[in-house]
């Protein structure tokens, strides 16, 4: 893909704006929806759907307290979490809505931007000098690392579907997936399942982590942000939701149909995201958290699933 000519900008503007809007505005709603679904399954009314927005607004207004141990690294974590997630989101198409930025190998930048966010979050946790936050950081690093191969094998599986000479970018890769379902639905299903695991582990959802737990020893992501308060905590919450949306968009790219009309695609995309939130809520309601020691085995299985997906697509 080449640069968008200034003349074409007008033509692309609605798409870009729509994408940006979904990326920046929608994510907290997903958290609210998940909470609502979980409440529904638990037989409760639950917080309002927009509760995450209220929380953010409240946090951004609050004062903050920093540990005397911490340095600038501690403050960098929340900022990096948001910026990397948003920037990565700019390169991920939402179903049929093409991403604002797209270029050869953008998938690598996406993966490594998310890694950068993780790196900063981990360091930020270690900066407090708390044993608990160190523990969370350690687990975050370990699980993310084991999730990486599954993500990349999925990319390879999709790359196998690319027509000769097509550029290797996320837009093309995900656009090839409908063809993939026709060729080898089994392979695509495996890849989708693997990526779903990646989604859950990267966003610290059950069965890998429980965002609602209050026992420090069993937490992963939540324990890393114990010391954050006020606006930084707000940034962390927002960043996490954007990350959920970004990876969600990746997974959705595998399964969503494309129509070619922006409005339709946009609606399908937003609907897909909301549906994904519902699915996550259902998973969280129906499963228990895994024992920590079992998590790596599941992650390795996810990579194997993706690997089989590659094989199925390669021999189609």
């Amino acid at each position: 893909m080449t640069w968008i000519e200034p003349a074409d900008l007008a033509a692309h503007a609605p798409r870009i704006l729509a994408h940006l809007a979904v990326l920046l505005v929608l994510p907290p709603l997903l958290l609210g929806l998940i909470a609502k679904v979980k409440a529904f399954f638990a037989g409760r009314v639950g917080p309002p759907l927009l509760q995450p927005y209220y929380d953010l607004a409240k946090l951004l207004r609050k004062g903050t307290v920093f540990s005397r141990t911490t340095t600038w690294v501690f403050r960098l974590g929340p900022v990096a979490g948001v910026v990397t997630a948003v920037l990565a989101g700019l390169m991920v198409p939402l179903g049929g809505v093409a991403a604002p930025i797209s270029f050869t190998g953008d998938l690598l930048l996406v993966a490594y931007l998310l890694a950068l966010g993780r790196f900063c979050t981990i360091l930020s946790a270690l900066d407090t000098g708390s044993a608990f936050e160190g523990m969370g950081a350690s687990r975050e690093a370990a699980y993310a690392c084991l999730a990486e191969p599954a993500l990349f094998l999925g990319f390879v599986a999709l790359a196998l579907l690319l027509p000769e000479g097509a550029q290797l970018n996320l837009g093309n890769l995900l656009a090839a997936s409908p063809g993939g379902w026709e060729l080898a639905a089994g392979g695509m299903a495996l890849v989708a399942a693997a990526w779903m695991v990646v989604l859950l582990v990267e966003n610290c959802r059950i069965p890998f982590d429980d965002p609602n737990t209050h026992l420090e020893l069993t937490m992963i992501h939540e324990v890393m942000v114990l010391d954050h308060s006020g606006p930084p905590l707000g940034l962390i919450l927002y960043g996490a939701s954007v990350k959920l949306a970004v990876i969600g968009m990746l997974v959705l790219g595998l399964i969503l149909p494309r129509s070619g009309h922006l409005a339709v695609d946009l609606a399908v995309g937003v609907g897909g995201l909301l549906g994904l939130a519902v699915v996550i809520g259902m998973i969280e309601s129906s499963m228990a958290r895994l024992r920590l020691l079992r998590v790596p085995a599941l992650l390795v299985s996810a990579a194997l699933l993706a690997g089989f997906g590659v094989i199925l697509l390669a021999v189609r």
Binding site: W3, G63, T64, V65, F66, S67, T69, T70, T71, V73, R75, L76, V79, V83, T84, V86, L87, I101, F103, T104, G105, D106, L108, L109, Y112, A115, L116, R118, F119, I122, L123, L126, D127, T128, G129, S130, A131, G134, A137, S138, R139, A141, A142, C145, L146, E148, P149, F152, L153, V156, A159, L162, L168, L226, G230, P231, P296, A303, G307, V310
Partner: protein, 651 residues
């Protein structure tokens, strides 16, 4: 000016940089820094000018028996390496002024002399115009490095490291000498001439390629030839480790590139082995690094990992040439070459940072450090930048080179060379592991509370050291955001590495997007940062939330060992840890003080090489009986030899 003349001048500057210090001890450090800086600048200039105008320089001296005349050749292949060496040498020279002080190191002038010669040797390797010059420079480099690793030879650990290095490097050199002999036999001269496919495929040709491969892979530190690397890097003074890890091990890579450029079409096994060992080195290097608690050993293991990444790229390029796939060639080669430069920058920066830490706290044990970011802010910032760069995180330089290698791997995996898939998985896993490892190294060393009084008393290093580190950190960022500017240079370098034909990098205008993304990242980050700073103005300060525990101490923080434990458990099969378990005494209720310690060991060395060496030594020990001191026995040997030869002669 002619690139070869520049290179020669650079070599001379570096070689002589330590000489004045032998006489004028007081001015020695500065003079050496000037010499190395000048040499480095000249090397960079030579590298840049060689990219577009290759140059050759030969002496008219009467040849020795093998026809050696001593010549320099500086072209696109040399250029990347020369630039890397020049940048690192300049930074190291500056750093050494504050780091290696005469007052603390009695043999400092000799260290400076050897360091200068080491740089000269490395530059000589990169600029050698023929195989014999290459060999001589290679050995000068190796021996100077031995001398430098042995700097603290009074400590058994350093001595053993130096010896191990000496023994392994000689194994490589001997292999190289044998290969060189075959080269002379096959091509008729020591110059870098093109080797036809038929010659390369003959028995002699295959032997020669295999011998070259052994030599270069040992020097590069690829698994399983890496055994010398961690102890040597840990034992050498840190600025020397920076040179060794930054550029010395790249001489092996350079050798592979140079040799590759001489092959009309490399055989598939050649690229395959390079690729396979690259994948193994990448993964094993980072796994072993994860298990290390010694900061410099950890960095050394990461050198193995990064050499693996370079080899992945290089292997892809070679395979691409065997299969006739130009895209594979150009992606692999440009990724590998760029990673050579990048690794030189961030790894030397990391070693310089580790040196500053070691100097400030007197220990390299990660678990005895902590909280240094408050005490050594500049060092911490530079180290963090380098850590991000080595984890291939944008917007730093590590990302752009791995990006190219990844593209190559994707292309290979999809385009018919399925083995690339293995490399892809290895690299993906490595990315995560490296991130975990550097989160550990940077986090435990610089963040949190100091774990020992020594760490609490740490002080920031001298201005010269900080300047050197800042310079390298700047380079890391510049390359990270400036990939497109490097594309013509990379293309020239890649084309020089091919004997025939040219390839062009496909649509690396993508690089501009990386730059754009980096810019957005930086700008967005900065904006949000400013906003956050405003928002948190007047923030209160308190202790870290202790979850209700009343008496937290610094020793309760997560250590490097515990941080790495979840991952280390997953990969315990390829690690070797020696554990000294505590013996609890004094009854069950009030046990006496006991201690637990564990020492990571190199599994290749301990499980394979050491037992093999012991077996040989045992056999040799058994043979000693034949030298029992009896002259009668000795006369019997004469008689038996005579009888045996007599029978043979008449048979």
């Amino acid at each position: 000016m002619d690139a070869a003349v520049l290179a020669l001048a650079a070599i001379a500057c570096a070689a002589l940089s330590g000489v004045p210090g032998l006489r004028w001890r007081k001015q020695g450090p500065r003079l050496a820094a000037i010499g190395l800086g000048l040499g480095g600048a000249l090397a960079v200039a030579a590298g840049i000018s060689a990219l577009f105008a290759p140059a050759r320089l030969g002496t008219a001296a009467e040849g020795v028996m093998a026809g050696w005349r001593g010549s320099l050749l500086v072209d696109g292949i040399s250029s990347v390496f020369l630039i890397a060496c020049g940048l690192v040498a300049g930074a190291v020279g500056l750093y050494a002024v504050g780091y290696w002080r005469d007052a603390e190191q009695p043999a400092a002038p000799w260290t400076r002399l050897l360091a200068g010669l080491l740089v000269a040797g490395i530059l000589g390797v990169f600029a050698a115009g023929d195989l014999l010059t290459f060999l001589i420079a290679w050995e000068v480099m190796s021996l100077c490095a031995f001398g430098l690793v042995a700097t603290k030879h009074r400590e058994a650990e350093s001595r053993n490291a130096a010896w191990l290095y000496l023994a392994t490097t000689r194994a490589a050199t001997l292999s190289l000498i044998a290969a060189c002999a075959l080269w002379l036999q096959l091509t008729g001269g020591p110059g870098w001439s093109t080797l036809s496919t038929a010659v390369a495929g003959s028995a002699a040709g295959v032997t020669m390629l295999a011998l070259f491969l052994v030599a270069f892979l040992i020097k590069a530190g690829a698994v399983p030839g890496h055994i010398w690397l961690p102890p040597a890097h840990a034992a050498a003074p840190s600025h020397v480790s920076a040179i060794m890890s930054g550029v010395l091990i790249k001489t092996g890579i350079y050798g592979l590139c140079r040799l590759g450029s001489c092959l009309e079409a490399p055989p598939l096994w050649w690229g395959g082995i390079i690729f396979g060992l690259g994948a193994a080195s990448t993964l094993l290097g980072v796994i072993w690094a994860l298990g290390s608690h010694d900061l410099k050993r950890l960095l050394a293991f990461h050198s193995i990992e990064n050499i693996g990444i370079i080899l992945l790229g290089l292997g892809l390029a070679m395979v691409g040439r065997s299969l006739g796939d130009p895209l594979l060639v150009v992606l692999g080669l440009s990724g590998a070459l760029l990673h050579v430069l990048n690794h030189a920058l961030f790894k030397s920066l990391l070693f310089l940072g580790a040196g500053a830490v070691d100097h400030a706290c007197g220990t390299r044990q990660i678990d005895r450090l902590g909280g240094l970011a408050r005490r050594m802010p500049t060092t911490a910032a530079c180290f963090l930048i380098a850590a991000a760069a080595i984890c291939a995180l944008p917007p730093f330089n590590g990302f752009v080179s791995e990006y190219l290698v990844y593209l190559g791997l994707f292309h290979g995996a999809v385009g018919g060379w399925t083995w690339a898939l293995a490399g892809l998985v290895a690299l993906a896993l490595t990315g995560g592991l490296a991130l975990a490892c550097f989160a550990k190294a940077a986090g435990i060393v610089f963040l949190g509370e100091p774990r020992t009084p020594a760490a609490a008393r740490a002080h920031e290093c001298s201005p010269s050291e900080r300047a050197a580190m800042a310079m390298l950190a700047g380079c890391c960022l510049a390359i990270g955001v400036g990939l497109p500017a490097l594309v013509p240079a990379l293309q020239a370098a890649a084309n020089a590495s091919l004997p025939t034909g040219t390839v062009s990098l496909p649509s690396l205008d993508a690089g501009w997007y990386v730059t754009l993304a980096a810019a957005v990242l930086l700008a967005g980050g900065l904006l949000l940062w400013r906003w956050q700073q405003r928002a948190v103005q007047g923030a209160g300060a308190t202790g870290t939330w202790d979850c209700g525990y009343a008496e937290p101490t610094a020793r309760m923080q997560y250590t490097a060992t515990s941080f790495a434990a979840p991952l280390a458990e997953q990969v315990a099969g390829v690690m070797l840890v020696e554990r000294h378990r505590p013996q609890l005494a004094g009854g069950a209720r009030f046990p006496a003080t006991a201690s637990f310690s564990d020492h990571p060991r190199d599994p290749v060395l301990e499980r394979f090489l050491r037992p093999a060496a012991e077996a040989v030594a045992w056999l040799a020990r058994g043979l000693r009986v034949v030298h029992g001191g009896w002259v009668h026995l000795y006369l019997l040997y004469v008689a038996l030899t005579f009888a045996a030869l007599l029978l043979w002669s008449l048979a």
